[in-house]
Symmetry: C2
Subunit: 313 residues, 2 copies
């Protein structure tokens, strides 16, 4: 026979009250039940814990030691379950979120800030990288979910549209095209084009947009960092096209943005969820926080707009 929590609970109550009757009232059980529980415990441990003459109850030295230890065990139990409860309520633990640098820097900060204010015991880990690595992190389980563009549907992940992110032309301050209210891809393609590195989702989309406008993508210069591209544009080396969400990362250079049309190209950002895995409660809460921002129609940068809430795909 082994020592159950029930026995320890009973013993601790009796030992603390130094009375079976009082402890029974406290625990809302019968006195006989406690009497038996303690007797069983003593038999199992092979030591007398309480000295009882018919009138009084006293602790033996072993009983005092046992009370100490029973308290330790019971509080470990209580504390453990409380921890797990807080974890389950999404109040404790960590959210690991894979995302693109632009999303991390522009879209998420207010969400993270609100989330942390409400649940100070939660940690948010941002795993920022390019689209490919972002999706891999979700699939591999490094991240609980992602906010990212998605080139092609991959098995095992579910998509939930989040925002549409329009491409703008990025021009030097006094460039002729800067006088237009809107710029076409065809007009833009006639200028020296400064592109971001080939493995970027932005690059993939600009290439596709030029092709759709019947032009050949023909970058004058490439750079992997958008801030670098911004610097080059400001210096008058050419023009570029970037999604609206990226603009805050382009830097403080003397640039102007103009909506790109013919066609309007939008980058679609999704919440990327692993289909199989259960989402940790903390991550679920984080998504709820994100939804709150969506439904509050919170102000987004010009050219970025919330998608309608819709079914997962």
């Amino acid at each position: 026979m082994d020592v159950t929590l029930r026995q320890l609970t009973a013993y601790a109550a009796v030992a603390r009250a130094v009375s079976f009757t009082a402890a029974a009232a406290e625990l809302h059980v019968s006195q006989s039940s406690l009497s038996r529980a303690v007797a069983d415990l003593e038999r199992t441990l092979g030591m007398r814990l309480l000295e009882r003459d018919t009138r009084n109850v006293r602790l033996t030295p072993a009983g005092a030691e046992a009370l100490r230890i029973a308290d330790q065990i019971l509080s470990a139990h209580r504390a453990g379950l409380a921890q797990l409860g807080r974890y389950g309520a999404g109040e404790r633990g960590a959210v690991a979120l894979a995302t693109l640098p632009s999303v991390a820097a522009v879209l998420l900060p207010p969400v993270i800030s609100a989330f942390r204010a409400r649940r100070p015991e939660m940690t948010v880990r941002l795993l920022d990288g390019l689209e490919r690595s972002v999706l891999d992190r979700v699939i591999d389980g490094d991240a609980d979910f992602a906010v990212s563009t998605v080139a092609r549907r991959a098995p095992g992940i579910t998509l939930r549209p989040l925002v549409r992110d329009r491409f703008d032309a990025v021009l030097p301050e006094h460039h002729p095209l800067a006088e237009r209210a809107e710029v076409t891809w065809e007009e833009l393609g006639r200028e020296p084009f400064l592109a971001v590195g080939t493995d970027s989702s932005v690059r993939r989309m600009t290439d596709a947009a030029f092709a759709q406008a019947g032009m050949e993508a023909n970058p004058a210069t490439e750079a992997s960092n958008v801030a670098t591209v911004g610097g080059l544009v400001a210096a008058g080396l050419g023009v570029s096209a970037l999604p609206a969400l990226v603009h805050p990362l382009v830097g403080p250079g003397r640039l102007v943005r103009r909506p790109l049309v013919g066609p309007v190209v939008e980058r679609r950002l999704y919440v990327v969820l692993p289909t199989r895995r259960t989402l940790p409660p903390g991550a679920r809460r984080f998504l709820e926080q994100l939804e709150e921002f969506r439904s509050a129609a919170d102000a987004l940068p010009a050219g970025v707009m919330w998608e309608e809430a819709s079914e997962d795909r």
Copy 2:
């Protein structure tokens, strides 16, 4: 319904094995039992811990957290019971032992040394004082038991004879009486007598011995500390009478000891046990160690001898 150790044990085994069948074999229970236990746990916690398609079992994020916590709780339980077991075996804890300075300094050191060597996790607390405070400490429960003389039988304590401790005359090195092989109380009483303070058990007994020899106790000088008495004797101020066990405390002065006869007076030292209280296991072990010394007829100072083992009184 609440979370039982049984459920946590079942869950931990299943989660670790990532298999109900394997865990069932390990725990020697049926697989169906584990299936139910885990299902119950999940229902109680209100969260899914294991993701199971008919072929595989995987942990959910909450499941991983729950495994961590279940392990904590179970190991607290295991460790607590192990501690209590060691306590019960007298391998852990403390022995509080009240005793007279002479016993503490002469009789006990080898016992304590052997005891600690065998049970390094045990602590021995020596509460040394005069007879009166020693008995009070046992009665009040400050000490687990005592080794002491006992003036009069007190209620609530049980006595077990330990050693007999003969009174010797203590004489300056070149005193005329020092030439005798033995000295009588009557002879001693004719010399200037140096006594220990009135509240000492030694003083009580010397007074009684002189009375029995038909003399009046008439101390020339009193001192509370036996080492002081020793110094006075060595300086030639008089003679004294001390139990053999005390001699090592008298100091390195130039003294001689001679057995006192007419009558032979023996101080009886008892193990003093509280009648009601259960003895802590460590204290019990300490007494066993003491008994070992007795039965090994271990060498005691001249004039001190073990009592025969006998019933408690």
